[in-house]
């Protein structure tokens, strides 16, 4: 199993939460202090570099108009890390392909970062959460269709090497696709796609052979999703796999680990107004029938209302002493039927630089070496050979 360090790069220096109705999309930017932003962005990048030194892989993501995440363009942070790190796999999860104007730009950006890093890119392609729709003004009723047409274009742009070709699809028309540079990894970087509720889309991800990732859900739900993937997986030559994100907090004592976990769980307490959480057409009609009855709100309110112990029991939170964390990861691995990549949100909210560095160090030195027997589930030898 592979381990990825992740912070969403939050900007938590805000007025009291009860004075705000939404921490996404509508927060005035006068509340952003550029000097604090300068410190935070550089601090977070330092922590990524430290995680690389400690032997962890790295994951970045992006959100726009949000205090939850001030990495607004994941290809930029990925490019910095490509140059500043040496060993880590560099996962971007992901490129918000449904919300980008030009998938071919994404193909080019990723190919360039792959060349800079010597073939370390793990390339997520996502439709983006509902909030991204407002920032990009994408029609919310066709984001899956845009995602898959975009993936088709990127894959072709990466793998067709005999000169220009044209593409006239439903969403994008290009007359001359011929990218320079092309990816370092051959035949192409792995593609990762995320999902949480949509079993039809999950089936497509499995049948296309891409890596599937899901975030902070109770392990019983993760098991359902992973089993569905396994039942439908087709090996397309570039290996797929299963990835899960949890909050992770390691410390010398359980009390200290849980105190830090409470800071990381700030993520669960961030606010957004209801109209931003469920946009028409983003989820299927069966969910929106429930929404009309007040039984679906567009996010995991039931999980969010729970305390840390519930989160830990369900492996949404992995926290404690190294012994306890090792045990929890083994339980998670068994309960979901095995997985390939554990994505670890190890920093969020106000968790300080010192505490974050310690979390990274303790995980890398005292937990990870004990788990070498947890083998890959679907993943196999990768990366493949570089371009000849």
């Amino acid at each position: 199993m592979d381990y990825y360090y992740f912070t969403e790069m939050p900007y938590p220096h805000l007025p009291p939460h009860d004075e705000m109705s939404s921490m996404r999309l509508t927060m005035p930017s006068k509340l952003f202090d550029p000097k604090i932003g300068h410190q935070l962005l550089n601090r977070y990048l330092d922590e990524y570099c430290y995680a690389d030194d400690m032997g962890l892989n790295l994951m970045v993501n992006e959100h726009r108009s949000s205090v939850v995440c001030i990495d607004v363009a994941a290809p930029l942070s990925l490019a910095i890390l490509a140059r500043q790190t040496k060993n880590a796999r560099l996962l971007v999860l992901g490129n918000s392909l449904a919300n980008r104007d030009d998938p071919i730009r994404v193909a080019e950006e990723m190919a360039m970062v792959d060349c800079i890093s010597g073939g370390r890119v793990e390339c997520g392609m996502v439709r983006g959460v509902t909030y991204e729709i407002f920032a990009a003004n994408t029609n919310p009723t066709m984001t899956n269709e845009r995602l898959w047409e975009g993936i088709d274009m990127v894959t072709k742009a990466w793998t067709m090497h005999d000169g220009p070709f044209n593409y006239e699809g439903r969403f994008w028309h290009r007359r001359n696709i011929n990218i320079w540079p092309r990816p370092y990894q051959q035949p192409r970087p792995r593609i990762w796609v995320t999902g949480s509720n949509d079993f039809e889309n999950l089936k497509t991800i499995a049948q296309e052979g891409h890596v599937y990732a899901t975030f902070v859900q109770p392990h019983a739900k993760v098991r359902q999703l992973f089993d569905h993937y396994r039942a439908n997986y087709v090996d397309n030559g570039v290996p797929g796999g299963l990835a899960y994100m949890a909050f992770v907090s390691v410390a010398e004592t359980d009390e200290e680990a849980m105190a830090n976990a409470d800071e990381i769980a700030w993520y669960m307490r961030t606010k957004a107004e209801p109209q931003f959480r469920n946009v028409p057409g983003y989820v299927g009609l069966e969910y929106n029938v429930q929404a009309l009855k007040g039984a679906y709100t567009g996010r995991t309110d039931a999980v969010r209302a729970q305390g840390l112990e519930y989160l830990r029991e369900n492996h949404i939170l992995i926290a404690g002493t190294p012994d306890k964390v090792e045990l929890q990861i083994r339980q998670l691995y068994d309960r979901v039927g095995g997985l390939d990549h554990l994505l670890m949100m190890m920093q969020c909210g106000y968790l300080s630089h010192e505490k974050t560095m310690k979390n990274i160090r303790m995980f890398a030195q005292e937990v990870m070496p004990r788990l070498k027997d947890l083998g890959p589930c679907i993943n196999r030898a990768w990366p493949a050979q570089a371009a000849e």
């Binding site: 003004n137 109209q275 929106n288 029938v289 009855k293």
Partner: protein, 263 residues
């Protein structure tokens, strides 16, 4: 509280290629075409019962609404052509047309393409055109505002719009949910308008009446007046104590404004 009407209705599906459009008939009298608003609250309002006392009301469900299907290629342009095709297929000629809100926009799109089948045109707080500059919010953004605030923009008295959806059967809720989704498909961007439509309004020759809720907070009466000014000879009537759906919120006053025009 709004709830589905129990009056007799007959329904038929009109096929135009792969598109299936549902037409419903209620009442007796001279035929009249009704293009409902995006929420289709007309079918839950005494407005429709009252209209059906004087007309055979043919209510067209645009693609993606009611039981009409919505092939993936359908845009607002297609919607208007398809609705014109259905009018011709049903043999509707020289009939009055009432279009409300999104249905008003569809009616205008149809009329600018071909208004030969329309005897008169009644537009109730329609969307469809852009009036101001890039930073003017001509049409309140129904997707950005909190649901409570949206109700305050939409109704002079928001209690008039209350519906008990929890007790409705799932197949009815499925249609409501799909109507909401189809509205977003057609209206997301450009938001609730067709940038070309204003330059096409001169093509409308049918006598036209704009009816507007005095307290419409989604598209204001000033927007309505500017809209009406683009249609040659169009009349403009305000309905007091009504928001975006004056025909539903102030049904009596609505008919007082519309009946002399249709007579």
């Amino acid at each position: 509280m709004l709830q589905p009407l129990t009056m007799p209705v007959t329904s038929e599906i009109v096929r135009i290629g792969e598109v299936e459009i549902e037409a419903q008939r209620r009442g007796r009298g001279q035929p009249l075409l009704l293009l409902p608003g995006e929420d289709a609250l007309e079918i839950e309002s005494p407005f429709l019962a009252r209209l059906a006392e004087s007309y055979e009301v043919i209510l067209l469900w645009p693609p993606g609404f009611g039981r009409s299907n919505r092939p993936e290629w359908v845009t607002m342009d297609d919607v208007s052509y398809l609705c014109l095709d259905v009018m011709a297929r049903l043999g509707l000629s020289k009939v009055p047309v009432i279009g409300c809100s999104l249905g008003g926009w569809i009616a205008v799109e149809m009329a600018t393409k071909n208004d030969a089948l329309m005897s008169k045109l009644v537009l109730v707080d329609p969307y469809g055109i852009k009036i101001g500059g890039p930073m003017d919010r001509d049409i309140a953004d129904i997707y950005m505002v909190h649901p409570t605030k949206l109700a305050a923009l939409k109704w002079a008295d928001p209690s008039k719009g209350e519906r008990d959806l929890v007790s409705r059967p799932d197949d009815e809720l499925f249609i409501i949910a799909r109507n909401i989704e189809s509205c977003a498909r057609l209206c997301w961007e450009p938001y609730m308008h067709n940038p070309k439509l204003r330059r096409r309004l001169h093509r409308i020759t049918a006598p036209t009446l704009f009816v507007w809720g005095e307290k419409d907070g989604i598209v204001t009466p000033d927007y309505g007046r500017a809209y009406a000014a683009g249609v040659s000879g169009a009349k403009f009537e305000l309905v007091a104590n009504a928001g975006h759906l004056p025909h539903i919120e102030q049904t009596e006053a609505f008919f007082a404004a519309v009946n002399p025009f249709l007579a």
